[in-house]
Symmetry: C2
Subunit: 360 residues, 2 copies
Amino acid sequence: MATIADVAARAGVGASTVSRVLNDHPRVSAATRVRVLDAIVALDYRPSPLAQGLPRGRSHALGAVVPFFTHASAVERLRGVVAGLGDSRYDLVLYNVESPRQRDEQLASLTRRSRADGLLIVSLPPPADDLARLASAGVPVVLLDARGEGVPAVLTDDVEGGRIATRHLLSLGHERVAFVGDDPANPFGFVSSSERERGYRESLAAAGLTVDPDYVVHGPHVRGVARRLTEHLLALRHPPTAVFTASDTQALGVLEAARSAGRRVPEDLSVVGFDDIEVSRYARLTTVRQPLFESGRRAAGLLLEALAAEEPPPAVTHQLDVELVVRSTTASPPAAGRAAGGPDDSTLPGSETDGTDRSR
Amino acid sequence: MATIADVAARAGVGASTVSRVLNDHPRVSAATRVRVLDAIVALDYRPSPLAQGLPRGRSHALGAVVPFFTHASAVERLRGVVAGLGDSRYDLVLYNVESPRQRDEQLASLTRRSRADGLLIVSLPPPADDLARLASAGVPVVLLDARGEGVPAVLTDDVEGGRIATRHLLSLGHERVAFVGDDPANPFGFVSSSERERGYRESLAAAGLTVDPDYVVHGPHVRGVARRLTEHLLALRHPPTAVFTASDTQALGVLEAARSAGRRVPEDLSVVGFDDIEVSRYARLTTVRQPLFESGRRAAGLLLEALAAEEPPPAVTHQLDVELVVRSTTASPPAAGRAAGGPDDSTLPGSETDGTDRSR
DNA sequence: TTGAAAGCGTTACCAC
DNA sequence: GTGGTAACGCTTTCAA
């Protein structure tokens, strides 16, 4: 494998001149440039990124810290990232994270530009001190589906999504709406689920409905867990007539529970998910769509800009809109539902739900 | 950021000693080792992978060359790769490939260990000379879903999958079975589709059926294309009663075409896919399952072994089994189908289909 | 067992 | 414009 010295020798110039040509430095005569270029071609020379990185203090790599297996949506985001990186000169390094310890380890080791020139952190709210160290090391960071002090973030309007989904259910006449979401005290500090839950609570409150504590259940972000949670919900004395979940993955679990409990969807039970991952279309799931791919592309773009500007990216929050996608898992509650009474008197509102679907 | 010199100074030793401790070289006295370790902890020192890589001539990175957007299955394979890499010390670098030119460029630039210590190439049959250069550069390569001269590969038994799928259709009584697959002359040289087609042809031949050329159609591996192709198929004077596709992605397109043409599935048209990607379960698609995740894990394991052995991996082919998953898109052909006659007399067999499903 | 020094392949500063 | 030369942070002889 040819080195810069080989090229220099063949072109009859010094190594520094070759380096100048490589980095198209202005002060090189046209003649020598040609000679050098010829030598490069002749030797099929390619500079070693390693060797280039050492003196420059950069790695030519961008890190993507991703809880890869946990969320189906992460993959779609990653695709957006790859697209957003396009043919920039950067390599994309995947850092899988499966535990908080691993997250801390990764983040700590990435605190230097010789490791990664920039970082994309997906869904993981990074500890403030990690962010500070990253900043002082001059490693620009862009957050995707997470918030962090002083760092730009590309976010979905999760609260609004929760509102929209719940309003849709309310407008169909549901009064007993349950929520299945992630554990709010999850080890990573994911907050999307909580935000969506917040929107759910807000919409309920706006409609004058009280949230029955029994109707709000949490568990790890896994289909099987959502299924079990829903089975309990359906076994309640006064089961809900509709379920809003924090994600499509969980909604799929809800659907399974409904089937195994002999509940028809949407006749007996309405279900609304969140994300609109690819499966949802085939499960005919009504859901809140968030632009996953686009969010990845946006985040990659922001990181590239910061890198080009050679300065820390402005800590702007880029909020992406959500949209309700009505498919076949939602309908009005069964007529008998009303007669059976609420699970608790307090959930029966004085005021009425407004009956209009303001979600679109 | 502390360097090895800082640690050496603090521990009162030379840099080389610190290096020895780092690479747990045997000849270091217990006492100094402790002093050095203390200094490392005190300074929160982490060696620069870049600087380590230069003299060693390695990058501590593994490259995964993937046609990322083209095949839904690639993502699932990648997950397996990540799992298989576990907590090996290697970084995983993603090389997206969207064109043959890009493939060549990537492969050429990866021909050096300072770029990647090892390579995983997914679905892409690499040109023989690239393979040769990679080998002489000492970069071990493992192929995933592709074959290459002198390189180990993890493969699915695509031909057998094609046979199984077709036999299933035949055993249901279908005689007019179409095939929708990738363009055999695709720019990347993907062959899975052709192999599956081969199995299809073999099963048909074994049943004494002739393949009607009109029934075998090809196009880019995209849902929309498969849909259009199928629309033509269904518009034929003697349309097929069943379609076997080279992938689930394409099967989804077939399903769309059937719906838009007013054909019920499976009553009017049976459909069998290939891969068993996640959506297929929800589309209730009968398909040939191949262990995508497992294939990735296997390939990663092989690469890791080769790296540990410090020698080129044995060029063994690891073939993974496929299995038919019968869901709701296949059934016997409509009774009227026979009466309508074959598209061509020659496709009507003298011998009978055997009626048994030998696929499981 | 340990340190000094050379070298890995580049870049960048400083003269010329 | 161009060529030395000193870094960059580490590993690896070679002596001691």
